[in-house]
């Protein structure tokens, strides 16, 4: 787990690129620690964080690292409220407060299982950096290992064509869309079921809306396929201070998504609740 500096730092936006319905925000972070895939950052605009809908935002917002290269972090943002709206309008040269990298990331397969990456909507973000890492590891691995572990398979689901533009973050992905405008007309979990039917010797890495994660979880439980789920929850701090970001665990208690996750082993949960 990558350790974060214990203070927020002011970083400079280097690019704001449109990716269909999403915004790809690139931020220079030359001194920042390299994140583990699945880790996230708490972001807030340095200027004018506030004064939007209902006089918000006030607290920083959590975003998965979608890529980290040459001291530049990429975030894939969907505008869903005052915080994401403000971040989506930041242009090169403007600054963001960043705290991170935070949380527990994905654990790479430790045997010869193939990696099945399943993403839904803006939840595809952490899978991009995971693909980078898995391919990088593969490239660096001794040639014997290379032969036994196949490259990651990427399955992505989107609501529509505009969102499916997010797939361009990946090198090779099979896409499903709710409205049938791109790829398979239907749910990404249908693609997953087909893949697992073909070859269940896999580890599933999933991130996306709660109902999708729950479908992944129950399918993998059924097939006894190990699955790692990147969860979301409303957060105030991102570093375990507020106890606000909880989801129920199997033991009848709660996990803090920011420090016990965001990536959790599917076995830790009874189900993925669709919290409001």
């Amino acid at each position: 787990m990558s350790v974060a500096p214990p203070r927020r730092r002011a970083l400079t936006v280097t690019a704001n690129e449109r990716l269909g319905a999403y915004t790809l925000l690139k931020v220079a972070d030359p001194a920042g620690p390299a994140p583990d895939p699945g880790q996230f950052t708490m972001l807030a605009a340095v200027e004018r964080w506030g004064g939007g809908e209902d006089e918000r935002p006030y607290l920083p917002r959590a975003f998965s690292l979608a890529r980290f290269r040459h001291g530049e972090a990429h975030y894939l943002l969907e505008d869903v409220g005052p915080g994401t709206r403000r971040l989506c309008e930041l242009q090169a040269g403007e600054r963001v407060w960043a705290l991170g990298p935070l949380g527990r990331g994905f654990v790479p397969p430790h045997d010869d299982r193939r990696a099945l990456l399943v993403g839904g909507g803006v939840g595809i973000a952490p899978l991009a950096i995971l693909q980078d890492a898995l391919e990088g590891a593969l490239a660096r691995a001794p040639s014997t290992r290379k032969r036994t572990r196949p490259p990651a398979t990427v399955l992505l689901g989107f609501r529509d064509r505009d969102r499916a533009a997010g797939a361009s973050l990946f090198r090779g992905a099979t896409v499903a869309s709710d409205d049938g405008s791109v790829g398979h007309a239907g749910l990404v979990t249908e693609l997953l079921a087909a893949e697992l039917e073909r070859d269940a010797h896999a580890v599933v890495y999933a991130c996306g809306p709660a109902p999708m994660l729950e479908a992944v979880r129950s399918l993998c439980e059924l097939l006894r396929t190990p699955a790692q789920l990147a969860l979301e929850a409303g957060m105030a701090c991102g570093f375990g201070a507020c106890y606000g970001c909880v989801v129920p665990n199997r033991a009848g208690g709660y996990l803090r998504v920011c420090v016990d996750g965001p990536v959790v082993d599917a076995a830790e949960l009874t189900r993925v609740e669709d919290l409001p």
Binding site: V3, P6, Y58, L59, A236, F239, A241, G253, R256
Partner: protein
Amino acid sequence: MTVSFCGLELAHRVINGSGTFDAIAARRVFGAELDEDFPFAAFVSKTITLQPRVGNPPPRLWEAAGGLVNSIGLPNKGLRRYLAEDLPELAALPAPLITNVMGSSAEEIVELVEACDERPEIAAVELNVSCPNVKTGLDIGSDPALLEEVVRTVRPRTGKPLIVKLTPNTADVAACGLAAQAGGADAVSLINTLRALALAPRTAAEGPRHWLGGGTGGLSGPAIRGVALAQVAAVAERVQIPVVGMGGVQNAGHAREMLDVGATLVAVGTESFRDPAAGAKIGRDLVRDRP
């Protein structure tokens, strides 16, 4: 130069508000660098209860205008496991430990305070009689007569400094401060969060419902700073014991205002969520502005 507070010698005037910083989690997240510039001159634990509590169902957070409404529900391991598991790690922090406790009766509070008294790792005890999320805390804290009685009962059970954290949800907070002092408190701290409600964003399909899993919550952050300043001033004007002022403090200017109205220490809560180094920065800036 250090700051004296109830016999403790502190490096500066800034501590954390109970329940707004988990030093154990933060050490895992931030590593050793956290200790090198630990944000607080004393560390206040989350509220500890006799029995373990899992806390309230989510959602637990609602962002308000310039503030946060929380309904965390005091999750904690319970006294026994706190002492056994957390105390050793908290004792290693580069700041004295203040343990915050809450009980639903005088007997419970006595048990909590006595257990703390036995442990040298604990420098002081803070009594939470002000948490708006759990009925008990509120009732004791908002009635001066009852508050004085409870403090008087608990007081002899420990030789450690006893801080009473007052509830802000009261007509006359100064009367509560005086009651705590009369009962034998060594200091009072305030303000806790203001009782507040959040409804879920309305959808066409659904009727109105509470957003917070715990029902009502408590408002903190800049939104309450003016209210906090008024209450800290009202209490500090009347009591002779030291006051820990908190509520919406974001920078050294705000902290200075707490001191200006009579606080001895300042606690930072919600602002730490925006920046874990907020306490350290404020502590430093205060010293720089007026050494």
